[in-house]
């Protein structure tokens, strides 16, 4: 009888630990004195110092921040307006367009990157920050759109009607009632978008220009050419940012939608 209850939990624990091993190793070796990540030679900040002295790395960090910020903001505006509008208007072909807008979530990234690349050069858009922002916005919109739509579906429709009924104009009702209520969903959609954008390698690789290297692209090329503990340090920092963003998103969705929601957000995240 005892085996039955313990074994599954052991299995869950072991696999979970295995999932963390590579991440923990990266963190540990970022503090390693030795240049090669094979042997522990003592604690050191030197790789972090080297990292902060690296100008090119800093530039690509700035690029990534600009990119993530712009893409998640654009996705928030387009996705939120779309979700709110779609909850109210019935148009012919609406389902088809909405399905299309969520496609970038399901298409393999390699294909998305490739179609953007050929399309941008077809319409003559110069590769650089602009193309990066458009491509990232495209794959961020579905996250905001679906989270906001889910929130709207769960929202009592009579709340907005009550505001109109009490004398509010549509715009006033939107800003005082609807927007505050969907704000947590918008924010967690934005944070997820930012995390996705901040992590993206494949799509960026196809649409980037000469002077718009992003952080993941730099990490990628460095990993490919050779391993330096500087990368360990960088990865640790990125990891820290990711965990912070995730925690914030989880807290927000919990505030906004009660206890069950982190789960739902998780399901959407698991694209």
């Amino acid at each position: 009888m005892k085996n039955k209850t313990v074994l599954p939990n052991v299995y869950l624990a072991v696999l979970m630990i295995l999932m963390y091993v590579p991440i923990v190793l990266v963190i540990i070796f970022s503090f390693n004195e030795n240049k090669l990540s094979v042997r522990w030679d003592g604690f050191s900040w030197r790789w972090y110092e080297a990292l902060f002295a690296d100008r090119a790395m800093f530039e690509s960090l700035v690029n990534s921040l600009i990119l993530g910020g712009s893409a998640s903001l654009a996705a928030a505006v387009i996705g939120t307006l779309g979700a709110v509008g779609s909850s109210k208007v019935k148009l012919p072909g609406k389902d088809a367009v909405e399905y299309l807008s969520t496609l970038p979530m399901m298409i393999p990234e390699i294909i998305l990157g490739m179609v953007f690349m050929v399309f941008f050069s077809l319409i003559g858009l110069p590769f650089g920050m602009m193309t990066l922002i458009i491509a990232h916005t495209a794959f961020c919109i579905p996250y905001v759109f679906m989270l906001v739509r889910a929130r709207l579906v769960g929202m009592d429709k009579s709340l907005e009607e009550a505001a109109l009924d009490l004398g509010a104009s549509k715009i006033y009702a939107f800003f005082t009632v609807v927007l505050p209520l969907i704000a947590p969903a918008i924010l967690s959609g934005m944070l997820l978008s930012f995390a996705m954008s901040f992590d993206d390698v494949i799509i960026s690789m196809f649409v980037t220009g000469v002077d718009s290297n992003t952080l993941p692209l730099r990490v990628y090329s460095q990993i490919k050419t050779g391993v330096t503990p500087e990368i360990n340090a960088l990865c640790t920092l990125i990891l820290l940012v990711t965990v912070l963003i995730l925690a914030l998103a989880a807290v927000l969705s919990r505030i906004g939608r009660g206890k069950k929601e982190p789960e739902q957000a998780a399901e959407i995240e698991a694209r």
């Binding site: 009592d156 009550a162 109109l164 009924d165 009490l166 509010a168 005082t176």
Partner: protein
């Protein structure tokens, strides 16, 4: 008389479904009118057309002599108490009640005073800082009412406001709502599917069915003098008996059962049940199953007994057949 609200020949369809098929109603100032009907009869749609949340396909809505059929909901001075109360969950009680006052540009201090006054009126003094999530069902209901009457609307629409409350609280709120309405002098259009509630509170009742008013009248009219078989059954739970080409409505308390007698028609006792202090006896007759009710739980009759069914002629109302 002073008409405040007038509906004339309102029609409304959603797709192929006809919901309202020509509604006419005149409400007097300060009147308490109940729309009574089972779910899907069009009560809520009627209310939403008055508030402006729906637009009728045809017909007019007149408020104090002004045609508001095409006016936006925020331009009507008509407020609604929603079935779900629709309190704004991100605002505290004070902000909820003060919402319409802020819209009117009233000063903060004035709003504060007005909200305080309203909370005393609905017997929730000191609740300003609470969030809707921290209130019980009955308290939310009071806040919703306070929010809707704070800027003295011309008409207050109430969509089954007591539907979510338990029976005891319902009874208490019925009395309180009626008291409030008399005090404020605001015209109430009230929706319910509970005939007791309607009979208790209303000045007039409009019994609705299939998007039409079957009968509009005082509680006495619809209960004692039903015009149609549907009204008799729905409002008075009356037995409908077709006899000699006439359709008669006889309420269960007027139905007389006598063991082994002839009566107007013979019947056989089918079953007995007890609820609400009344014993209900179901009798199978040539006119279908009829129900008689008696005070107390004891009865000499038992299932299987042959009885004669009769009633005093003055207790049988002739109604239009269904």
């Amino acid at each position: 008389m002073d008409a405040i609200l007038e509906l004339s020949d309102i029609h409304k369809s959603f797709g192929a479904t006809k919901v309202l098929n020509g509604i006419d109603l005149v409400a007097e100032r300060g009147e308490f009118i109940t729309l009574l009907g089972s779910s899907g009869c069009g009560k809520t749609t009627t209310l939403r057309i008055i508030s402006g949340l729906e637009t009728p396909d045809s017909g007019r809505v007149i408020l104090e002599g002004v045609d508001v059929t095409d006016a936006e909901p925020n331009k009507r001075g008509v407020h609604t108490v929603f079935q779900s109360y629709a309190l704004f969950p991100h605002m505290n009680v004070e902000s909820n009640i003060g919402y319409s006052l802020r819209l009117k540009g009233m000063k903060r201090a004035e709003i504060k005073a007005k909200v305080k006054e309203m909370l005393e009126l609905v017997q929730l003094p000191g609740f300003e800082g609470r969030m809707p999530g921290e209130l019980s069902g009955g308290q939310r209901q009071r806040v919703a009412i306070a929010r809707s009457v704070v800027d003295s609307p011309r008409v207050l629409l109430l969509d089954e406001p007591l539907g979510a409350l338990d029976l005891q609280l319902r009874r208490a709120m019925q009395v309180e709502l009626k008291r409030l309405q008399k005090k404020l002098g605001i015209t109430f259009i009230y929706i319910t599917h509970d005939q007791e509630e309607a009979l208790n509170m209303s000045d007039r009742i409009a019994v609705m069915r299939n998007g039409l008013f079957e009968q509009v009248g005082t509680p006495g009219d619809v209960y004692d003098r039903p015009k149609t078989a549907y009204v008799a059954r729905f409002v008075g739970s009356a037995n409908i008996i077709v006899r000699g080409g006439k359709t008669l409505a006889v309420r269960s308390e007027y139905l007389e059962l006598e063991k082994d007698a002839a009566g107007y028609m013979p019947g056989v006792v089918k079953e007995k049940s007890f609820s609400g202090g009344m014993l209900r006896i179901a009798v199978e007759t040539e006119a279908g199953e009829l129900v008689a009710s008696r005070h107390g739980i004891d009865s000499p009759l038992a299932p299987g007994d042959a009885v004669g069914v009769s009633w005093e002629p003055q207790n049988a109302v002739e109604v239009e057949p269904e």
